[in-house]
């Protein structure tokens, strides 16, 4: 068992480099070391110029996503021990997104998509402060898995449709739209449906399903999008009925 492992890191420093290039580092390897620990080791002991993003170290802040040997991973939830056989880990910034610097991907486009679907509870009337909007466990179960998203954007790095068309709202945004549309306390689905109904909404998805495979929180965005397709399909039918009755497009 070797006690070191090699990391091949794709570097890109916009003020110096015209294109990305690979730099190799040898780091200690123990059973409890994550890829994030290895990157922090490089930054602290070998090369302070390396840029990478992280915060919580426990798979909850969603900021440490990188490609590890071609797969989108949270670097804090991915362990060097699983790559001992391979001998070398290729680490680069998340696919399908612009690179700001080294391993830091620019996720602002993803954040805009997420904001577009209004991922918050929309109410027409507020409940008085002394009562809560009660919800049964069954009502909560309808959306609970979809609410576990940490906005890490791994699913965007995995999605070939987003890679080809960045206007596609993509897995996490469409999942959040479903998460609130399925919440019994929410009254805002009519504001979110136009986003789902668009070509750039659920209809750009061809059910590749890789998003659900890479999601570190088992959110299953592919299932959320497909449920979104059913909702959009029904919405289309209802709208057709409205149009036939001479009412305006909803």
């Amino acid at each position: 068992m070797s006690d070191t492992i090699e990391l091949a890191v794709t570097r890109y420093r916009p003020e110096q480099d015209t294109q990305p290039w690979e730099q190799r580092y040898t780091v200690p390897c123990s059973d409890d070391m994550s890829v994030l620990d290895a990157l922090n080791y490089i930054k602290d002991a070998l090369d302070p110029s390396l840029s990478h993003r992280w915060s919580c170290r426990m798979a909850i802040c969603g900021s440490c996503g990188v490609m590890v040997n071609g797969e989108p991973k949270l670097s804090c939830k991915t362990f060097l021990r699983d790559y001992r056989e391979a001998g070398v880990l290729e680490v680069r910034a998340l696919d399908n997104l612009p690179v700001e610097r080294d391993l830091v991907a620019d996720i602002s486009g993803v954040v805009e998509h997420i904001e577009a679907v209004k991922p918050w509870l929309i109410r027409h009337s507020e409940a008085p402060v002394d009562t809560a909007h009660s919800q049964t466990p069954a009502q909560m179960a309808r959306y609970h898995a979809f609410s576990q998203c940490i906005n890490c954007a791994l699913c965007y790095a995995a999605c070939p449709q987003f890679g080809r068309n960045p206007a596609f709202l993509g897995p996490a945004a469409l999942t959040l739209a479903q998460r609130y549309n399925l919440d019994s306390r929410d009254e805002g689905s009519s504001e979110r449906m136009p986003w789902l109904n668009a070509e750039e909404g659920v209809w750009s998805c061809t059910f590749v399903g890789y998003c659900s495979e890479v999601c570190p929180k088992d959110v299953d965005p592919a299932s959320a999008i497909n449920r979104g397709k059913v909702a959009s399909d029904i919405n289309y039918g209802v709208n057709l009925f409205r149009l036939l009755r001479g009412k305006g497009d909803a």
Binding site: P160, N197, A198, E199, G201, W203, T206, D233, Y236, G237
Partner: protein
């Protein structure tokens, strides 16, 4: 945001897939087994074609044939996109969905002039 008209083809795709999943294997297996199980093919033919006289049976048969056709056309059409095979939408769409429509119409014609 402009509304997509994809729900039309997706509904046909979904309905076809559902039908195929529920009764497709049974239909294929029973058709394959017919040769062994049936003693008197002529009598079976007579039973089946008299069954097909009823408009509802005809409609059901049409659904079993047409919906899976649309299902296949839709999957192939989007499969081309996934394989990065490009072409004018009117041509590819026309070929796959038009093909499924033409074959369904032909089937309807046969069934209802039987």
């Amino acid at each position: 945001m402009r509304r997509s008209h994809e729900p039309i083809s997706w509904s046909l795709f979904g309905a076809g897939g559902m039908l195929l999943a529920f009764i497709g294997p049974g239909l294929i297996a029973s058709t394959l087994l017919l040769g062994w199980l049936v003693q008197d093919p002529q009598a079976l033919y007579a039973t089946l074609s008299s069954g097909l006289q009823h408009p509802l049976t005809r409609l059901a048969t049409l659904a079993v044939i047409a919906l899976p056709l649309y299902h296949t056309a839709h999957r192939l059409y989007h499969g081309l996109h996934d394989l990065h095979i490009k072409g004018p939408t009117w041509l590819l769409g026309g070929f796959f969905y038009g093909g499924a429509t033409a074959l369904s119409a032909l089937c309807a014609f046969w069934l209802f002039t039987l």
